[in-house]
């Protein structure tokens, strides 16, 4: 959604409407706001690193590889939470991306205008639902549904796979993955739709004129053309799934251990922080370890988001060049 503004801004610079004190003032003001964000981000990183220092010094890089998290013995390691974060996010992509792609293709290529506009609004409305509401819905609707019907069915049919074995807890990795899948759909489908809409019309026409069917024209002309934009959309969804806290904390079961089974409780980087943030006494090793988890989460989320934005911008930028 930020893209039109960026393009407009560039155009405004290419065709200045004349200079006045108002423009200069506005430029200085908005420039300061932009710099303030960078300063803020830098300060957050510095404060996190300072508070994480006791843990950084004690555990070093081994922090990322240790699976022991014991506040009683002051042993802290991030591996169970990294595992929980990766598995729930992967599950979210596995379930959420195909649905998002379907929505985006339907909206941009197939739907008549009378359906397209309301459908777009409804999907974007999903993004406006606060995550604590997803969490509540997860506890009272999704948990009984998945633990009562879906999980036993999966265990019955695919029980030979280790991921579907073991006791079925109501709050578990699987439930968290399903909730995340629903939560990333608006992001992924909106950005994918933008990417598909940006594909030049002549791509579709060329494919159709060669005798391609509707599906073939979408596959050859549109999807493969918008590849990097779609990939960027998926990465943005991954970023959202990685950092999501409230809804996940409410349905994941909060166990600080690595379990192969998807039906066992687990913990993500963000949920362990939400659970234990109140515990730390300033300067203690425990608070240091909790803050270090925050540092890890922030760095990974930052990398994913920067990478995803670059992919999307490069794609849309290329399209803009083509249009002008």
């Amino acid at each position: 959604m930020a893209f039109p503004f960026r393009r407009d801004a560039r155009r405004a610079r290419l065709h200045p409407t004349g200079s006045s004190w108002g423009d200069a003032l506005f430029r200085a003001g908005s420039g300061a706001a932009g710099v303030a964000i960078l300063v803020l981000l830098g300060l957050i990183a510095i404060v996190l690193a300072l508070n994480a220092f006791p843990s950084l010094r004690t555990f070093g890089p081994g922090f990322l590889a240790s699976s022991e998290w014991n506040p009683v013995t002051n042993q802290f390691g991030a591996l169970p939470f990294i595992y929980g974060t990766v598995v729930t996010s992967a599950l979210a992509l596995l379930l959420g991306v195909p649905i998002s792609l379907g929505i985006a293709i339907f909206v941009s290529e197939l739907a008549p205008a009378s359906i397209r506009v309301p459908l777009t609004y409804v999907v974007e409305l999903l993004a406006a639902v606060p995550s604590v509401v997803y969490g509540l819905w997860g506890i009272y609707v999704l948990v009984p549904l998945l633990a009562g019907y879906v999980a036993p069915a999966l265990q019955g049919s695919l029980g030979f796979l280790p991921i579907f074995q073991g006791a079925i807890y109501g709050t578990n990795l699987f439930t968290a993955g399903v909730i995340l899948a629903i939560m990333i759909i608006p992001t992924v489908s909106a950005v994918t739709r933008d990417a598909l809409t940006a594909v030049p019309q002549n791509q579709r026409e060329a494919a159709l004129s060669l005798g391609a069917t509707r599906w073939e024209s979408i596959r050859i002309g549109v999807l493969s053309y918008a590849r990097s934009g779609i990939f960027g959309a998926v990465m943005l969804g991954l970023g959202r799934a990685f950092g999501e806290t409230m809804a996940v904390t409410m349905v994941i079961g909060n166990r600080n251990a690595i379990s192969v089974s998807w039906f066992a409780p687990a913990q993500t980087l963000s949920s362990i922080i939400a659970n234990s943030a109140r515990e730390g006494v300033a300067g203690s090793l425990e608070l240091g370890a909790i803050v270090e988890l925050g540092l890890v989460l922030m760095l990974v989320a930052l990398l994913i988001n920067v990478f995803a934005r670059l992919m999307v911008w490069r794609f849309l930028g290329k399209q803009e060049g083509g249009l002008e």
């Binding site: 893209f3 039109p4 393009r7 407009d8 155009r11 405004a12 409407t17 108002g22 506005f26 022991e68 998290w69 014991n70 506040p71 009683v72 013995t73 506890i139 948990v143 009984p144 633990a147 006791a167 807890y169 109501g170 709050t171 578990n172 933008d194 809409t197 940006a198 904390t249 079961g253 909060n254 166990r255 600080n256 251990a257 409780p265 659970n275 234990s276 109140r278 515990e279 730390g280 006494v281 300033a282 249009l323």
Partner: protein
């Protein structure tokens, strides 16, 4: 996207400027209005406010006290149930007038803050709640059995050790789903303190604390969260404060005490546990880290009982943000009220009233509180 092409117009830019200007204007108006209200507000005497936070275990009681005390004296008590860990941190940081906690200061915290007084303020019981269809509302359990369940050594409800002490009860072969607190919790501290006393394996493998590394089970936040988790899962077991199991009409166990009797948690059995420990409590400014009334002696003591405490500074003029004589006086008066009149409210909310010996000790502690070195009359 395409509809937006070439829509940039000077008028649009000016509209944006107007939006910014009106937002700034609104902010200015709000600030001015706030300043004016404050200015006029100073004309009258502002009511005294006392800020406390901590133990969520004690929160229902504190809320009731706050309403009663405001009606009685006009003094406003603000209490937030942020958890015992947060309460201790905040009173040490001098961000509160008093802290609430179920876990006492540890020795390090006490040594670094020798002027913090520990005042037992009410009593509570941690119950072992379960959801097993077809089983009576109060089955018998022992400390070692509960420890083994939480260690993952007993995994089925029809385990021989459970059946042996519940003759006549037909247990289903359901898996046991263990539920615990995921947030930093005084309730967890009391529960793990008890299990560490009755099971040496639990003591070495898990230990006691407000947050511990549970070998099995799943976690939910707050007492109500664990209560919901137990209610929502057939075969679940969890530890919850007494008021919550009563409110949620859940099944909870009789637990075998040190005198080998199976005791149901209630006001009398909790008070009995406190009475057995009352004679041996440290002074108000002493080290309370070893105080525990779990596994108390006495034929009718419920073994998973606890004091909940208020933490206050002995000398009150220590706040960087300032403390007035009137506010210090109000704090002392509230503490005095809480350990006397307040105890009758406690009973109606399933907190057992403090035994007389503990009230006497609290009186002595409250009398040591000073402002600028001068004692404050109660």
């Amino acid at each position: 996207m395409k509809e937006n092409e070439g829509t940039i117009q000077p008028q649009k830019g000016r509209r944006g400027l107007w939006i910014i200007l009106s937002v700034v204007a609104i902010v200015v108006i709000i600030l001015v209005a706030g300043a004016l209200t404050n200015w006029f507000g100073l004309a009258g005497t502002p009511p005294i406010q006392l800020n406390g936070a901590g133990s969520s275990f004690a929160f229902p009681l504190m809320s009731a006290w706050s309403t009663q005390y405001k009606a009685l004296t006009g003094v406003q008590i603000n209490y937030q149930g942020t958890g015992s860990g947060a309460g201790i941190s905040a009173i040490i940081a001098k961000n509160l007038d008093f802290g609430g906690t179920d876990a006492t200061l540890n020795t390090t915290q006490h040594t670094q803050n020798p002027s913090l007084l520990t005042i037992p303020e009410s009593l509570g019981a941690v119950t072992v709640a379960y959801n097993v269809p077809g089983v009576p509302a109060h089955i018998n359990l022992t400390g070692p059995i509960i420890a083994n369940i939480y260690l993952g050594l007993i995994t089925k409800w029809d385990d021989g050790s459970i059946a042996a002490i519940n003759s006549g009860v037909a247990f289903p072969s359901t898996s046991i789903f263990v539920e615990y607190r995921s947030d930093s919790s005084g309730t967890t501290f009391v529960f793990t303190d008890y299990l560490s006393k009755v099971s040496s394996q639990f003591a070495t493998q898990v230990g006691k604390g407000k947050l511990v590394a549970w070998p099995v089970g799943s976690g939910a936040p707050q007492n109500q969260g664990v209560a919901n988790a137990v209610k929502g899962q057939t075969g679940a077991i969890g530890y919850v404060e007494l008021a919550y199991v009563v409110q949620n009409s859940m099944s909870y166990a009789k637990v075998k005490n040190a005198a080998r009797n199976y005791i149901l948690p209630d006001l009398n059995s909790t008070a009995a546990a406190a009475a057995s420990a009352a004679g041996s409590l440290p002074a108000g400014n002493g080290d309370w880290s070893q105080v525990s009334i779990t596994n108390a002696t006495g034929a009718t003591s419920y073994p998973i009982s606890t004091f909940t405490y208020i933490l206050v500074y002995q000398e009150l003029n220590v706040y960087p943000s300032g403390m007035t004589q009137a506010k210090a006086q109000a704090l002392v008066a509230f503490l005095w009220w809480a350990v006397h009149t307040g105890q009758t409210t406690a009973a109606s909310l399933t907190y057992a009233p403090l035994p007389a010996a503990v009230v006497t000790q609290d009186e002595a502690t409250i009398h040591t509180i000073t402002f600028n070195g001068e004692p404050l009359p109660t």
